[in-house]
């Protein structure tokens, strides 16, 4: 009898320890982004999340970065690698084109995977009861805001340079922009990958534009080059960037033209928002470089996700249900209103002093 009691006691203790071990295992979160050498694009996002976890003292989440190159052809391999490691929560910062590629894969595993979308605004992801939670507004809302802003300045001639490499974003973007803009527009479509600056120069040098809208996403450094080219040809212009050119590299490629550039942004300038300023200051102090504004989306997504995990929601279904039920998620950069489809709406800001924005 005594032997049985001892065995029972050992069993109970072992079970408790094992349960403890199992329950204490951190939740793995994948971050799919462009981990290109020397680029601050992907590194900003990864370092941003690392900073979040360290700042908040979070030990129940483990970050695992995956490189998708922001290339739709690399999405499948990256996703398979994520799933092979048993990870079912993903934060992405890639373009809309990549996001739609990923959706094809995640739709096959509906409730088994949850994706936090931070870099894609395509309306093809809007109003869907799917396994996406998007922390940025969709293209309709975004372009409406931009169109209204540009419209408000009554430009005589607006030059739009659109990158068709990211057509899943830029095509609907232009549609929604046009719906809200009534001035004169000249559209030039380019392919960033095959951009011939001299050809572009030829195409635009005789256009008498007083404003340029670089409808380019994906934090392409070429946005700055195009802005500089447009300004060199015609110094008296204003150049608008989409919110997806929010890396400090634009300062390099835009050169002196940065003074005439306005950046649409999801956040107010850092000096106007204590949370954003604190983030930038802390980030630079920690990593010795200025992060992209994209990284704030990822930081915010991690914050939202973390709130669900802290409420003991660890599966994709549980997390999604929790966040939708909560409706409002408080973050360091203000609260997010998440609707029943996991989408958000938020205002857009326009930063004219881009030099001080980073």
């Amino acid at each position: 009898m005594q032997k049985k009691m001892v065995l029972l006691f050992i069993f109970i203790v072992s079970f408790s320890v094992l349960s403890g071990c199992v329950s204490n295992k951190p939740v793995k979160v994948a971050i799919m982004t462009k981990l290109e050498a020397g680029s601050i694009i992907g590194s900003s996002e990864v370092d941003g999340v690392r900073m979040f976890l360290k700042e908040k003292g979070i030990t129940n989440v483990e970050l695992v970065p995956f490189n998708d190159g922001w290339d739709p052809t690399m999405i499948k391999a990256a996703y398979e690698e994520v799933r092979a490691q048993g990870i079912n929560i993903i934060i992405t910062s890639h373009t809309s084109t990549c996001a739609l590629e990923l959706k094809k894969l995640t739709d096959l595993e509906q409730d088994k995977v949850l994706v936090f979308v931070t870099g894609s605004t395509t309306n093809l992801l809007s109003n869907l009861d799917d396994n996406n939670i998007r922390v940025v507004q969709d293209v309709a809302s975004e372009q409406t805001s931009i169109a209204k802003e540009i419209q408000s300045h009554n430009y005589k001639h607006l030059l739009i340079v659109r990158d068709l490499d990211n057509n899943k974003y830029t095509e609907p973007a232009l549609e929604f922009f046009k719906k809200n803009y009534s001035g004169k527009v000249t559209l030039i479509d380019i392919s960033i990958k095959n951009l011939d600056m001299s050809q572009l120069k030829n195409d635009i040098k005789d256009l008498n534009y007083d404003a340029v809208y670089t409808l380019i996403g994906g934090n392409q450094t070429s946005s700055g080059s195009i802005a500089q080219l447009a300004w060199v040809i015609n110094p008296n212009i204003t150049v608008y960037f989409t919110p997806w050119n929010n890396a400090s590299t634009v300062l390099e490629t835009a050169g002196k033209a940065i003074d005439v550039c306005i950046m649409a942004n999801h956040y107010p300038p850092k000096n106007n928002q204590p949370g954003v300023k604190a983030y930038f200051d802390h980030f630079k102090a920690t990593y010795n470089y200025a992060p992209t504004y994209n990284s704030l989306h990822v930081y915010r997504a991690m914050s939202v996700l973390s709130s669900a995990i802290n409420a003991n929601k660890t599966t994709p279904t549980q997390i999604k249900a929790y966040l939708i039920k909560q409706k409002t998620a408080d973050t360091d950069f203000g609260s997010l209103e998440i609707n029943a489809f996991g989408d958000v709406d938020m205002p857009l800001y326009f930063i004219d002093n881009i030099k001080d924005a980073f």
Binding site: L35, A37, G38, D47, P65, K193, D196, S225
Partner: protein, 611 residues
């Protein structure tokens, strides 16, 4: 006295200590060797990374030479000859604006008038204004969004800039990596991978730790080197089996060696146990079983593999035989001596009896002689008177009266003598022949008392026999004579020493099948410290007076061996020595009881250790 230690424990301890010491020394040696090897390996890897650095520098130096060559005739035409080396070739003015483009790659989004005002390239250009060729660190070119290295030199107030993409460097590094069978990675200080010689890597971001193991399809050892020249981190992934080659061999060898040591230790213990300890233990166990009375033979030990152990056994066997033979001889001698002593004791007892009887007879016979002598004298006087005719009636009457008295005295004395002889005869015959006969128990006690009267009447001692019911026994009266003789003589010699008017009581009762005999006196008694020794052979406190110390021993043996009874000493207030004897008896009919006896030898040596 120091505690005895077992040979087994000692041997095991020493062997274990030896083994532990050996293992410890081996471990330390392996540890030191491993440390040395690690140091050597790290130095080697450091050397490898420096080689990579130098190889890169050599490559860049080579490119630099080509750049210098080009700079001698920098135009679009000559630029086309360098399309494999340089992705972009252009001039910038003093304001760092591109003033002329000689060559541009499709990925490079520069144009004439493009200002390099901000950023790493801008800083590089600002810091390096020399006309010597300057090489930038590996960095990400913003205008082409690719990893690049820039070359710059001043030419006639303009700066000539060339950009090479790292793809060409990678090809060069790949050759270096292949020669070392490793993977080379160039990373930023934060671990972001700029380029590598292998498309598949075990991590997306270089781990912050140095000198660790990472896994791809096989295990690699990661080492890092912050190149002050390249201003980047060189990361080397070396296959672990390459590094651990010698250690792997050692690791294989060490367990084998440990196994060999352990096997040797176990074998040693086994052999020691089988050939030494076990035979000794068996020897000890057999010794415990050894019974000298067992004449089946000296035991044979089952394990006699070794000469020495066999010698031990053989020597023991021989010595045992010798000891047994001596023992038997001594035993025989002892038995003989014992028998002689007992016979001597018997003789002494008989002698004492004879002396006593002689002494006793002497008195009545003396009286008879005196009486007859008186009578003769009187007779002579009467005859004389008769012959002289002087005999008177009164004289005759006096003579006849004296004669009557004398006859009475002579008669009593002669009867007394006859009784004495009869008693003596009975005791002597009983002691000498000791046949089993039927006798009255009280009568026999009286005979003994009568034969010893001369011994105890000197001290005016008395002995009383209390036998409420007559007891007829079929047994050996001689044995009982010996018992009571010894009791009475002990009382006289020891109990009543220096005392007169001592008394002794012999009480005999029959309780069912037990004959209870109690002998007690009112003498000095037996001291408590001597009580347990009184039945020992040759124990006496009267050695100076010629006591043999066998009396009570004989009594003990008779009671316990011959009659299968018990004897013990009691103490009661007012009495001295009290001996209690309990004898098992059984009725054989006609009121006769038989005392169970043992036909064994009273003097057997096996009786020595009884009591």
């Amino acid at each position: 006295m120091s505690r005895l230690k077992s040979i087994k424990t000692i041997m095991l301890t020493f062997e274990a200590i030896g083994l532990i010491l050996l293992i410890a020394i081996l471990t330390i040696a392996v540890f030191i060797f491993q440390k040395q090897l690690n140091k050597q390996t790290m130095n080697q890897l450091q050397g490898t990374m420096e080689t990579v650095e130098h190889s890169t520098l050599a490559y860049l130096s080579d490119q630099s030479n080509k750049f210098v060559e080009f700079s001698k005739e920098p135009n679009a035409s000559t630029a086309s000859h360098y399309f494999n080396q340089f992705a972009d070739l252009y001039f910038v003015d003093s304001e760092n604006k591109i003033s002329e483009i000689l060559r541009v790659s499709p990925s490079s989004h520069i144009f004439v008038g493009y200002g390099i005002d901000v950023g790493v390239l801008s800083n590089f250009l600002k810091e390096n204004t020399s006309d010597k060729v300057q090489i930038s660190p590996i960095l990400r070119s913003v205008e082409s969004d690719s990893i690049s290295i820039y070359f710059s030199t001043m030419l006639n107030e303009r700066r000539l800039i060339a950009r090479i993409e790292l793809e060409t460097l990678i090809q060069y590094l790949k050759q270096t990596a292949d020669s070392f069978n490793s993977i080379i990675i160039i990373a930023s200080e934060n671990g972001y991978i700029m380029t590598s010689t292998h498309s598949e890597l075990p991590f997306k971001i270089v781990p912050s730790q140095d000198a660790i193991q990472v896994s791809l399809k096989e295990k690699y050892f990661l080492t890092k080197y912050d190149s002050p020249i390249l201003k980047n981190t060189i990361v080397l992934l070396t296959p672990l089996k390459q590094i651990n080659g010698p250690m792997d061999s050692l690791r294989l060898f060490v367990p084998i060696l440990f196994l060999a040591l352990f096997t040797s230790f176990t074998a040693k213990i086994f052999v020691q146990n089988q050939f030494f300890l076990k035979p000794i233990q068996i020897f000890i166990n057999k010794l415990h079983e050894y019974n000298p009375n067992n004449q089946e033979g000296i035991f044979e030990a089952p394990i006699l593999h070794t000469k020495e152990v066999k010698q031990l056994y053989s020597t023991f066997q021989d010595k045992t035989k010798e000891i047994e033979s001596s023992f038997e001889h001594l035993n025989t001698q002892r038995k003989k001596a014992m028998n002689q002593l007992i016979e001597s004791e018997k003789m002494t007892s008989l002698g004492g009896l004879v002396a006593g009887v002689a002494h006793e007879i002497n008195t009545p016979i003396g009286v008879c002689i005196s009486a007859t002598s008186y009578l003769k004298s009187n007779n002579d006087q009467i005859l004389k008177a008769l012959n002289n005719g002087e005999l008177k009636k009164s004289n005759l009457q006096t003579y006849l009266k004296d004669l009557d008295e004398a006859i009475t005295i002579i008669s009593v004395s002669l009867e007394r003598s006859s009784e004495l002889v009869k008693s003596f005869k009975q005791i002597a015959v009983a002691q000498s022949s000791d046949n089993e006969i039927t006798f009255d128990f009280e009568e026999q006690i009286q005979i003994v008392l009568s034969s010893l009267k001369h011994e105890y009447k000197k001290g005016k001692h008395q002995f009383h026999v209390i036998c409420p019911v007559p007891i007829q026994l079929l047994s050996h009266p001689g044995a009982f004579h010996q018992i009571f003789t010894n009791f009475i003589m002990n009382s006289v010699i020891h109990g009543f020493k220096d005392k007169e008017n001592g008394e002794g009581w012999i009480t005999v009762t029959q309780q069912a099948n037990t004959l209870e005999i109690e002998f007690k006196d009112n003498g000095v008694g037996i001291p408590l410290d001597l009580e347990r020794r009184v039945f020992d052979p040759f124990f006496t406190t009267n050695r100076e007076s010629g006591g043999s110390g066998l009396g009570l021993h004989i009594v003990f043996n008779i009671v316990t061996q011959k009659f299968n009874g018990t004897i013990y000493i009691e103490h009661k207030e007012g009495y001295g020595a009290i001996f209690k004897i309990l004898l098992p008896i059984q009725s054989i009919g006609n009121g006769i009881w038989s005392v169970k006896n043992d036909s064994g030898d009273l003097n057997s040596s096996s009786n020595f250790n009884k009591y």
